[in-house]
Every structure is written in C-alpha cells, then in structure tokens.
Subunit: 343 residues, 2 copies
C-alpha cells in the first residue's frame, strides 16, 4: 500500500470535495491508502454518503482549522489544524509518501519549509503546475508563486526541480527547458534573467533551449518554463483568465440563436473533446517541489475531480521516484561551483 | 484634413499590407490624409491595384530600409529609412498628427525618444495595447514591453498615461486602474510593487482600485492594468498564446467528425461573433504613449485590417485630444512632490 495524507478541511469546497475526491481516488487505484486529517465527525458524516473500501481510509481527528485570515506563520503554529497535523505526520512517519492539500497556499509553503524541510542543497521550494498545450501535451511552469523575489541560483534550481518532475511525472526523458523572458534574444530581460541565462546554458543535466516568450507556455515547443514566482504567477493567472473569457464567450454565442443551439447538439462530442483538451485540472494542483517528500497543492476552488487527480498525480510522482531523482541530479551538477557561494 | 504618416515598409507583410490597409482607412474616413514613406516605385506598384482617392495619399520616397538585424540605435541613424524619415517629418511638420508603423519595436521606441521626444515631465514612453475582455469591453495594458526595468515613478506615470488613453480613445470618463501583482492584498509583490501601490493610492486624478491578478486582464473589472514592461510583455504574450491554443483546438475539434461539421454549419453566425469578440486586432496595434505626438505600433505580423484599424485608432485618439489631456493631468498631479526628486 502507498499511503497518502490528505488535508480533509483544506479548500473552499471542503469537506464535500475532499471526501468525494478521496473516494474517487480509492476506486481508481487499488494500492492506495488515504489518511484524512480534519474534524472527525464532519468527515465521517460526509464519507457516509459513499461506498468505498473502508480498510483503506483512516481519519485523524484535528479539531482546529486554519482561518483564511491567519498569516502563514501564525497558521503553522496551529498543530491541531488539518494541514499542520498532516505536515507533522508526513515528516515523522516514513511510510507516508505524499501530502495533498487544497488549503491556504501561504500556510502550505511555510509549513513545507518549517516542518517538512527542504531537500539538502535546495534554497527554496517552488510551485509547479502542469498546463495543457496546443500539441495536446503538458508544459510545466516553475515557479508560479512561491517566490516573488528570486536570485539566479534559485531559477537554476527551479530548472532542475521541474526537469526531474517532467521525467518522474510525465515520462519525458530529456525535457526542454526555456527561460521565460520578454524576448528570445540572449541579452533580453533584466540582470536576473541575463545572468540566469548564462548559468542555465552551462548547467549539466539541463536541456536548455534558451529564452522563451509568454506565448510559448501554450505552444508546446518547451516542456519546462523557468520563471521567478512573480512573473510565473501573473503568466499562469493570465492564461487561466483568458481561457475562462473564451469558454464563457463560446457558451454565450453557442446558445444565442436557435440555429446555434441545433449546431451545438451536433457538436456535443467535439465540444466535450475540446473541454477535455483544455482541462487545467487534469493533473490536479501544482507540485510544491523541493521539499523532502511529495506535496501537491490543489487549487483553493478544487472540486472532487481535482482532489482525485491531485492524489493520483502525487502517487505517480512518488512511485516514479521524484525525490531520489532530484537528489541524483543535484549531486551531478555543482551549482555552488558554477554560480559561486555568495548567492 | 487630418494628416497621418504611415511607415510604408514596416512589418512582415509590407508593402502589401500597408498599402491595402491605407486604402481601406481612406475609404473609412473621408477627412483622412495619408503620407506614406518607403520605396516610391514599390509602393506605387502596390497601390495601383486599388481604387482610392489619390488626392488624399502622398508618397515620400525613402530608399533605405531598416534591417531586422540592425540594433535600434543603429536604425535611428538611417535617416533615409521609411520609419526614421517618418519620425523626422512628424517632429518637424506641425500639421502631421500621428505616426503608424508595423516596423521594429526597438527602433520605434528609440526613434520616438531620440527624434520625436517625450512629453515634458514624462520619464519614459510605454507600449499600451487594448485587449478585449469578457464583458465585451476593452482593457488597456501599460507597459507591455518598452521598459523591462521600472521605478515606482514610471509605473505611476503609466497609470496616468493609460488613464488619459482610456478617456480619449475609449470614452471611459473615470477609468479604473489596477496594479498587476501576484495577489490582491496590499502588501503583495516585491518592493517596486509595494512602493508603487502606496503612491498610486495617493495620486490625484487616478481612480486606483488596488492590486489585481493576471486573470483580471480579461475579466473586465478593471480598465487600465499598470505593470512594468517585463511582466506586461509576458502577460500579453501569455494571453495571446492561450487564445491561439484554444481557437486552434476549437477548429480541429469542430472539423473532426461529420456531425461536428454539420453542427459548425448551423453555428457559422455564432462562431463569427465569437471570433469578432476575441479579435485582438480590433484597435490595431499598441499605442506608444508618452511622446509629443500620437504613435501607434502595429503588430509586426499586421494584416491590412490591422493597419487600417491602427490608422483609424490613431485618428480617434488625436481628435479626442490625447496629448493635451496628458499634459493637463500631469500638471494636476505633483509627482515630484509625491515620490521625491531622487527617483
């Protein structure tokens, strides 16, 4: 059995979405065991609505809940909360392989650093979502919000972390890495990006293809997009906003006239396939990468299917050995020598 | 007559697109007079394919052409090139009200600063495109690439410049201004954004609604998005890339089966309206704002309709008094006193 710990109270739709998502994940993978943290009676009441293999789900009672108004550093002190208790169990119990939460991003990041801890040598963990691209494949965006201010060494590590994720999570043997910039020429961007370009070009084990632009995120000619957390956050949300604008507009136009409605009936299959191709939740949430174990941060607005996908994605990544892969890549590339100790 | 000068050789599709776009614009506005710069015999040959009012179009022969490999500072020395000759005429002839070019962004920006010059008090010009939003309205994004590195005073000026554009170009009497950040809370972002937030909140004449996120660019709850040129460039191109991904995918799915094809026939009207709503070229190119006269930078890949729209948009902005509006707003807000001289 592979044990996953799930923050039962995290996210806008918890505990409904977390319970239903957990049940769906148990049905999809017979070797999965789930520990859910949260208010026991609440979770039990919700779970009682479903049929599932009860021998593979256990609840750990956590009476406290993190308030969205709590600062992340306040939140990590709440040891009886579902997220923080989950982090402590993940840290202390060797047989738990991953954590999934749809709770507060800030508390997830701070808890990861302060409780679970980083992989030796990694400066900062990063948030790395997997996005659909026009080729029907997947593009990883790292970092998309954990670190608003970055140094070159951090961006180089994001390249390494996300390359390991591409290999362990998506079976890409030699992922192409691009640096998100305001143009493709080598000299583009501010000093941070100019310096990072130089280092990435020399980094062993990284298949660096140069600077890329915002549009390349969705074009699919790059597998890993390296960016600071400020720019990555803006890019990710810009893409989400644009997709929503277009799909909303499509819905409105396609139901605007009787002819369009008839057309839509003929097109049901095509519209369904389109939606599937554009599904931003296919892999659940973003990986919080760089920590000692696998942590998946699902969207705050996660529905059951996102929770299920986040759990299954965490399992895949764990089974394919993400953490040992990162440690191996880190030991192969001498970043301190390349960039210098002062960073 | 309102005189516009058009760089006849600028853009990937020149001179075909520039000539046809000029003819379309002349047909759309009977009070428009166009001066085209470029190789006379080439432009004349292209224009001879169309019927138009020849008394309202004049060609100024410019034998030289800017090479895409020329650096912007090299390019501005080429006084016989279509772009640089146009800038010199725009500067020297009072009766020319605006310049439209689809040529090199770098040369357009450097030429604007070195030849035409900035409005007194403006630190740097910015590129400001107008994007469609989900409400069927328009959102301005300023800066989207002219200034990769910014100071707070520049971002505050972008807010002022784009607010004036919203008024003169889109009839928005009190445009809502948002600061693009990695979250909506006041303390979000790096020191640049934290400081800028403080100043914007105090700026007279600016309707500041606080921090906004990438997704708000397309949601339409904000009229002016203020951002540094690095982030703005990434956001703009991310949105363009996402729109292209979805529309390509839609086309593929909607022609994938006989049923879908039949459906598409019924939906012709709806699909056309959808495309119209999502037309990123509705207003032609981006305004290069902050210079002494109106300058519109059309996309390098501009087709005739984009050139036409850029010309008509330049006319509208000029007629509605953009430049005096900016000067008036600048004199009303004492930025030096607010931010301090050291910036």
């Amino acid at each position: 059995m592979d044990k996953i710990i799930l923050d039962g109270m995290g996210g806008d739709n918890a505990p409904k979405a977390t319970c239903e998502g957990a049940v769906q994940a148990l049905r999809a993978d017979s070797n999965l065991y789930i520990i859910m943290t949260g208010r026991k009676e609440v979770l039990e009441a919700e779970l009682s609505k479903f049929k599932y293999d009860k021998s593979r789900l256990e609840i750990v009672d956590c009476p406290d809940v993190i308030d969205m108004n709590d600062s992340p550093t306040e939140a990590v002190k709440r040891k009886q909360s579902s997220l923080i208790a989950a982090y402590w169990m993940l840290k202390k119990q060797d047989d738990i392989c991953a954590l999934v939460t749809a709770g507060s991003s800030g508390a997830t990041i701070v808890g990861g650093q302060l409780i679970l801890g980083r992989i030796r040598g990694i400066k900062r963990p990063a948030l790395c979502p997997a996005l659909p691209n026009v080729r029907g494949g997947t593009t990883l965006l790292c970092d998309c919000g954990a670190n608003a201010e970055c140094k070159p060494v951090m961006l180089c590590q994001f390249a390494l972390l996300a390359s390991a994720y591409a290999q362990a999570g998506f079976n890409m043997p030699n992922p192409r890495v691009g640096l998100l910039n305001n143009g493709t020429e080598e000299h583009k961007g501010d000093p941070l990006h100019q310096e990072t370009y130089k280092y990435l070009a020399q980094m062993k084990g990284i298949n660096f293809i140069g600077n890329i632009e915002g549009r390349d995120i969705n074009y699919g000619d790059v597998d890993v997009v390296v960016t600071d957390g400020f720019t990555g956050n803006v890019a990710l949300k810009s893409v989400e906003g644009c997709a929503k604008m277009i799909l909303d507009n499509m819905k409105k136009q396609f139901t605007s006239t009787p002819a369009a409605l008839i057309g839509a009936l003929f097109m049901m299959g095509a519209i369904k396939r389109l939606k599937k191709n554009l599904d931003f939740n296919k892999y659940g949430g973003a990986l919080l990468i760089g920590l000692k174990k696998v942590v998946v941060k699902s969207h705050g607005s996660s529905k059951p299917v996102s929770i299920k996908n986040s759990i299954l994605n965490a399992l895949t990544i764990y089974r394919n050995g993400l953490i040992p892969k990162i440690e191996e890549m880190l030991s192969d590339v001498d970043l301190d020598n390349l960039i210098g100790q002062e960073e």
